[in-house]
Symmetry: D2
Subunit: 264 residues, 4 copies
């Protein structure tokens, strides 16, 4: 089977030391030929719950940090873009551009990202049916040849809750594009901390296992040496020292899943 | 009681004749001192389901059309903005700026709109709890003095469906801001037409009545002389020749609701 | 217009004094020719969250209490049935039989209730679409001539929350049957108190107003002189001393709604 | 690890030949020491969408059929009960009693089933949070020593749709009881066929794999030699000739999942 793509990182670009430390662990994981690791971090958290929340270093500085992290670690990098004008700059450094879930329906953003020629990883809106992502695929493939990935990160399930419709992974993969499962955002509890988004880290592995068993091409995780110190998403992040064995279990599971096809 | 604000128009700016004809009907309704009408049309449908769908005249041309429509009809005008850079231009002509529901969490857009000094009408995201709109109010009031309005236009309720949580109108009004009920988008069926969004026009009046009874400050409708010819949102629009009596019924109902407070 | 049916009472039959006191207030309201009051109380709470919670006096004793309350107050009475075998006994005293929402799909119960010849008031299951209640109507009308009422009491909206789809009231009324809006159960928060169901009393009137404006035939409320002492449903009940003015406001609103049809 | 319990059968008891044929295939699967098969069929479909739909042979005749099927196949049998009075008769033949999802909150039914001393398999109501099933566990364990199983069969996700919250499997298993995943009912589309429930068979295996990976104790399937001829649930059933390899794949997957614990 194909190697699993693993998109991972610290959520937002914070101090460069922390990011480098995370990239180092990811580069070690990347030694395995079962996996292709892409380092991911945001240069701007453009939709924080509260205006007072920290956002990140911004486009120019963030892209430079990503470049240095990529060079030091040898890993390809990716980031999320929020405006059409950001796509070109980000594409100079990133091997994939990511479209946030809230922005999955913004035609100009999807088109601008695709026009860079980079593959575009679009997160399914929390307000969208998996079936309706085919229109997003068409928008991107009509604008560029870099390819599209679709990412499941949870669907609205009553106020403050998300649910993963695992059948939707099949629906999206049937569109002929690689499918990503974002395991750490899926356990978010929007508004769960009052002024910020909560989360439930202990469900990350069960959900990732479920997605691997259903059949996916990539997994997405946020990880941090001290999640409780992360400027965002702490409650749903995987502590860095638990990351390697988690990935090892998921790769072992995926290998098994790939072999199931022979049982007829 | 305060007059009802009525935000209405043809959805997207199409040929200027159609828009003028709609504005004429609205200007006649505006003669009543029970109501303050604001003409609304989009210069760009930036999140159409399909890339092939028509989008509108664009910012420059659209704002000019709005200026002419406002001058000819004597009505204030409003439009929706999708990027921070659009806010300044739109604010030259518009007396209110509208933030689309999908973009309700984009901090920079809310801030840029508020910084123009115009009131900002933010549609609650289909993926948000009414309670969580308080953070949006804080973002806007922290950036400008024009004021904020919050608009209910439906919440995700399973694939392809929205529901109006009428209790959420109370929750948002308790934040001390005027609340708008968007009656025609609330009956949309996302993806309901396969390649486009469907709708159910017959539910518009029942839902508008419900919202008026719960207590709101403004109503939002799309109307068109021939809804089936509208470039978007046809299935949920009110035919223009039915618009005046609909508003008359809702104003009569609102008057009654205002009087209920005296029954103790 | 037709008088409004008002189904009201203390939820469960507790001490007879409390029930009589509630029935007295209801009988006074019944003097108006705008309203037909039916006293409602349960003889058994058959689906309490916890096994330790109080359930009520049971069928035989409960029906006798209902008979005495009906005689003393001059009001017709109704109760909810949980098993087919309870229908005959309940129908001796009750002028309407009520089917709980959880049991709306139990064919034998609906049929047994309808076979008594009494009208059957079926609450829409929290797990059902309004459209699907037509099958329940068919089950009942196929079994008895007493008629059917359909009651909206909220639909599942994420764990621990209900939402009222007000458009569903129109859908059900279009089936040609009277529609009831259960305002106090609609504000329940299932599991909201950990070991019991919570609620949000302040949303009862807004939702009842919304339903009246959309168009309904009956309203359902639970009321109690001291809601905090009620063995169940306390958090969502209307205090008895606030009940009369609430009903007066809703009747005034309904009168206004009836007159709207003349505005064309 | 423990053998997987496999609860399977033809949904409703129809002609005895068909049931025997299914039981024969199941008995062959039961030869494996990785699995404990229990034959399941209903004697009555007590909550069909339509009153005109076929229901089954009834309690007495159904229990006799189950006895003969159990004797012929050597398999333990189970069935679902709808009224407290049915539990005793069903328990004479059945080694497990099943409580339907719609009836998960009916205290007397859960208690009567538990009082037989048989294990009770309670399906989580489509309207219930996984957390709230702990109250059902308490009701059952307070009434009998046979034990409780909790079964996930989908949660309401908008009209006509269910979703499986795979994280809920963890929540329920953390209550210390075995958890069952009902793969074929989870793909139902309530009301999806207008007068009957639809379904989407192709999602059965992906969802079953997901559940196995998350960690469960039992799987539940409906299977039939000719699903399109089944009196109910045809669209979601597994064709009998595809059943054995499906189970083989899931057992292989489960073995792998059990081994993951050693990767630390």
């Amino acid at each position: 089977g194909q190697p699993l793509m693993l998109i991972a990182g610290p959520c937002v670009l914070q101090d460069e030391d922390t990011s480098m430390r995370i990239a180092e662990v990811l580069a070690a994981i990347n030694q395995s030929d079962q996996v292709n690791v892409v380092f991911k971090a945001s240069f701007d958290k453009a939709n924080r719950t509260s205006a007072a929340a920290k956002r990140g270093p911004g486009l120019e500085q963030g892209v430079e940090m990503l470049r240095r992290i990529g060079q030091a670690s040898g890993l390809p990098v990716t980031t999320d873009v929020h405006l059409p004008t950001q796509c070109g700059v980000a594409a100079e450094v990133c091997s994939i551009l990511q479209i946030p879930a809230f922005l999955a329906r913004q035609t100009d953003l999807v088109v601008a990202a695709a026009e860079t020629g980079r593959p575009v990883n679009v997160k399914k809106g929390q307000f969208m049916a998996p079936e309706d992502m085919r229109h997003v695929v068409a928008k991107a493939t009509g604008a560029g040849d870099g390819g599209v990935l679709l990412c499941e990160r949870g669907t609205f399930f009553g106020y403050g809750r998300l649910v993963n419709d695992m059948a939707g992974l099949v629906t999206m993969r049937n569109m002929g594009v690689p499918v990503v499962f974002d395991a750490t955002h899926s356990v978010q509890r929007p508004g769960g901390l009052g002024d910020a988004t909560g989360g439930n880290r202990e469900m990350v592995e069960p959900l990732a296992r479920a997605a691997v068993s259903v059949g996916i091409d990539a997994l997405f995780f946020e990880t941090h040496p001290q999640p409780e110190r992360s400027p965002s998403d702490g409650p749903n992040m995987i502590p860095l020292d638990q990351f390697r064995p988690l990935i090892d279990r998921l790769l072992r599971l995926r290998q098994c899943v790939n072999e199931l096809a022979s049982i007829r």
